[in-house]
Structure formats: C-alpha cells, structure tokens
C-alpha cells in the first residue's frame, strides 16, 4: 500500500469497503461461534480465578480473543469510510451467518421467530444500502 497520507498503526491494508465488510463479518461470525464453543467447554464452572485459568487454556477462548482484536481493527477502518449511522446498524447482519453456523455446527434449531427476525435484518440492511447518501 503506497500512500501520501499520514501513517497510523490503526490503519490496515484493505481499502475497499466490500472487502472490509467481508472480513469483518467473517471474523465476527468466527468470534461468536467461538464463544458458543467456549461456553460449552466451560459450562457449569463457577466464575473465579480458576475459571479464568481454565478459560485461557482453551483454543476456543483464544479464537474469540484474537477474533475480537481483529474485528476492532477492521471496525475502525470501516468507520474511516462509512458513515457511523449506516455502519453500526449493518453489523446486525452478523446474526445471519451466526444462526446458520450454529445450526450447522451445534445443531441449534432455528425457530420461526428467529427466522422472521433474520429476514427482517436482511431486508433492513438492503434498505439501508439502497441509498448510500450518508
């Protein structure tokens, strides 16, 4: 990446909005699924120092931590290009791949209410992007 702009540690490589969103949604989905995985790993344990120790020994927890840090970096770069009003609402789209992932990996059933909710999120995000006047 060559640029005359001021360099900053928070700036990452992808410049295209679509690529940034694709990466953000991918990492956000992985992070949420890692949390579900971590939750089943640590189920029933009491919170405390031993809990934190047990948590840090799990790959699921590390996946979630790395996912969070990566999401944060991508998010700041999304905000450099996209109006906050549009960007923040669009993050809700992550519920769609998370629901499908939870169904495929953890065999979680998709209730009618959840299906309707996901459909509303998809239509809403399409509406928000049909006019990018931000």
């Amino acid at each position: 990446m060559s640029s005359n702009e001021h360099d900053d540690a928070l700036r990452v490589v992808p410049r295209s909005e679509t690529l940034l969103w694709t990466l953000f949604i991918t990492f956000a989905t992985a992070t949420q699924l890692a949390f579900k995985w971590a939750g089943s790993d640590l189920e029933g344990q009491e919170f405390g120092l031993r809990f934190v120790g047990a948590a840090l020994a799990r790959p699921s927890v590390w996946t979630a931590i790395v996912g969070y840090v990566t999401m944060f970096t991508l998010w700041i770069n999304i905000l450099r290009r996209v109006p906050l009003s549009r960007a923040f609402v669009m993050t809700a789209i992550v519920y769609v791949p998370v629901t499908i992932g939870a169904w495929l990996i953890f065999d979680e059933q998709i209730s009618a209410l959840r299906g309707i909710g996901i459909a509303a999120i998809i239509v809403g995000v399409v509406l928000i992007n049909s006019e990018t006047s931000g």
């Binding site: 906050l84 009003s85 923040f88 609402v89 809403g124």
Partner: protein, 116 residues
C-alpha cells in the same frame, strides 16, 4: 421494572452511543492525516474504556434481568447510535434508511427473544 434496572439500561445504551462516537472521532482523525486537538488514538482509547465500563453495566443488568428480556431492550442501541450520528456528524439519513434501521432493530429484538 425497577428504577435501578431502567438506569442500567439507559447507561448501557449510552455506553454504545458514546463508545461508537469516540471510535468515529478517532477514525475521522486518522483519515484527516493531520493532528487535531485530540490525537485519534486517544479518541479510540477513550472509546475502548467506555466499552470496558459497559461490560460491568451489562453484568449488572444480567444480575437483575434474564438475557431474553435484557437483550431485546438493549437493541435500542441501533436507534441511539443513528440519532447520535445524525446530530454529531451531520450524517444524512434518508427515510428509506430509517425504515431499514427500524426493520433491523425489530429483527434483532426477535432474534434476542429467542436467546441471542
């Protein structure tokens, strides 16, 4: 709903609004490429601190209310951030985009009712 719970909800949504506002201020600063009064990294750091505070506020909420009650109410953060962006950053939001945001919020409420 108790006054304590209402306050915790309001603070939680306010944390989202302020946290995202500080992130946006940092992002604008990075893009501007010249140092402002507040360095972009400081805005971002303040935003992160706000989110750390929110973790504890949210734990307070969940100590009183179950997740399937708390999460749908917390979905109001989408509307809160939209309003803040309009006022603070003069972002233009069309009627169609408001409708989209409303649908997304309702959708997230429905998903949250099923356990998030």
């Amino acid at each position: 709903m108790t006054l304590e719970l209402l306050t915790l909800f309001a603070v939680s949504v306010a944390c989202d609004v302020f946290g995202q506002t500080f992130f946006k201020l940092g992002a604008i600063g990075i893009s501007a490429g010249k140092p402002g009064i507040v360095p972009p990294s400081l805005w971002v750091a303040i935003g992160l601190v706000v989110y750390v505070v929110e973790i504890f506020v949210w734990l307070g909420v969940l100590a009183i209310a179950p997740l399937t009650v708390a999460a749908p109410i917390a979905s109001l953060n989408y509307i809160g951030v939209m309003l803040a962006s309009r006022w603070l950053f003069s972002e233009r939001i069309t009627r169609r985009q408001w409708a989209g945001a409303g649908l997304v919020t309702l959708g997230v409420i429905a998903v949250a009712l099923t356990g998030g």
